[in-house]
Symmetry: C2
Subunit: 252 residues, 2 copies
């Protein structure tokens, strides 16, 4: 379904390709990642694919089901709560200790907010999901601490998976306004307020999740059989199957 290889795939590392696909919401939680198919796609042997999977597994981004296959993680409701909890703590600390913004930081943030506004206007949900996550990574980048950025990148990847699983309706405008408020507080040199706003923002987003929702084993099939909607036809050349991890246990 989601194509990982928009450009010559040889040069990109496999890890990065998959993480990027998640960060830009081009790949669904539960998507099967076949060792053989990835090996073919990247023109390497299974060994290297496996190594990439091991690394991603250590970052909770993919899961292995023994002798069944590798799958993009499907965070449980509990895990989702923990990820949001961790993000609240990390981002609170982050914003509290944010240095005064330089003009270029500020420009970058405003450019980002502008992008968000455009995406909302064009109702491009995938791009929105991506931008909403990116905002927080941008904040981390301003601090200039790669260790922290890395932590937040992984948490963001997991957050995106959570959104794709549990987000019933996407209050994009509300999120965007949250981001604007945070930037405004930072601009006003009020880090304590920015931190408080970030927590409220994350609360709101978490509130918008439907954590009681069970993963739908038939989701892909449903989507595939659905007659064309607004979005136009999906790209045809897809090397990765859309097989989902839940196949036989259907609702009785």
């Amino acid at each position: 379904m989601q194509d990982l290889s928009t450009s010559p795939p040889q040069l990109q590392s496999i890890d990065k390709a998959i993480v990027d696909a998640i960060l830009s919401a081009r790949i669904q939680p539960g998507t099967r990642l076949s060792e053989n198919q990835l090996a073919a796609l990247f023109s390497v042997s299974r060994t290297r694919v496996r190594e990439a999977m091991m690394r991603l597994e250590a970052r909770c981004i993919v899961t292995v089901s023994p002798r069944r296959g590798w799958f993009v993680s499907e965070p449980s409701a509990e895990e989702a709560r923990h990820v949001y909890g961790a993000r609240r703590i990390v981002e609170y600390g982050l914003l509290r200790s944010m240095p005064a913004l330089t003009p270029s930081d500020l420009a970058a943030l405003h450019r980002h907010l502008e992008d968000e506004k455009l995406a909302i206007a064009s109702a491009d949900r995938q791009r929105l999901t991506c931008l909403m996550g990116d905002f927080h990574i941008r904040l981390a980048e301003i601090v200039g601490n790669p260790v922290l950025t890395e932590v937040l990148r992984d948490l963001t990847a997991r957050t995106i998976l959570i959104s794709l699983m549990y987000q019933s309706d996407f209050h994009a405008l509300q999120s965007h306004e949250g981001h604007c408020a945070i930037v405004a507080a930072l601009e006003a040199n009020a880090p304590e307020q920015a931190a408080a706003l970030a927590i409220r923002h994350l609360d709101e987003v978490e509130e918008g999740l439907d954590l009681t929702r069970q993963p739908d084993p038939l989701a892909d099939l449903r989507r595939s059989l659905q007659p064309e909607t607004e979005a136009g036809p999906r790209p045809a050349a897809d090397m990765l199957k859309t097989t989902h991890r839940h196949t036989q246990k259907e609702n009785p």
Copy 2:
């Protein structure tokens, strides 16, 4: 030098054994981790060892030098600063949002502080290093968020490596007092103060590092040739060589 296999090694996963060895300061930064030797030690083939190494590499705990070998990470001075920076941010957020302590939490913390005091009294530096790191993991555990605990565990592992590399003299008592102050603030239900104390504590510890110190390629040799000191002879049966990563580039 450091023995990783105190008990039957088959059952433990390789990752855990190595991380545990680092968290308890039984293994030095720069120690070579030979695939063959680990494979023999754990009675598996190199494949599985390699997979473990890949996972640990993703967590910045080991490094590979192409076709030369795997080594326990030797964080650079810059990385050290970033790790401490990240910890300040995370732990500030953590303590700020700490729930009121339950009696059992409090008991556990006090027990830990008691252990620290004992270790100081017996001047057991290895045990101290281990306990000092553990304190922060304990704090994370109280919040009951495994995602965050995991983040802090990795940061702590890296911190321990940093200590082993750059800590010229270990102000154990000062650290211990820092921990006591934090617990006292938590006990007094003053999370804001606890958070501020944590930052000061981390500042002090970082201050105690000598980040200008260059890694000493002769460290192992020096230790080995040194006549017996207080600590008594090292355990004899060591399967891992003490080879360090710097072998030929000596100071001219």
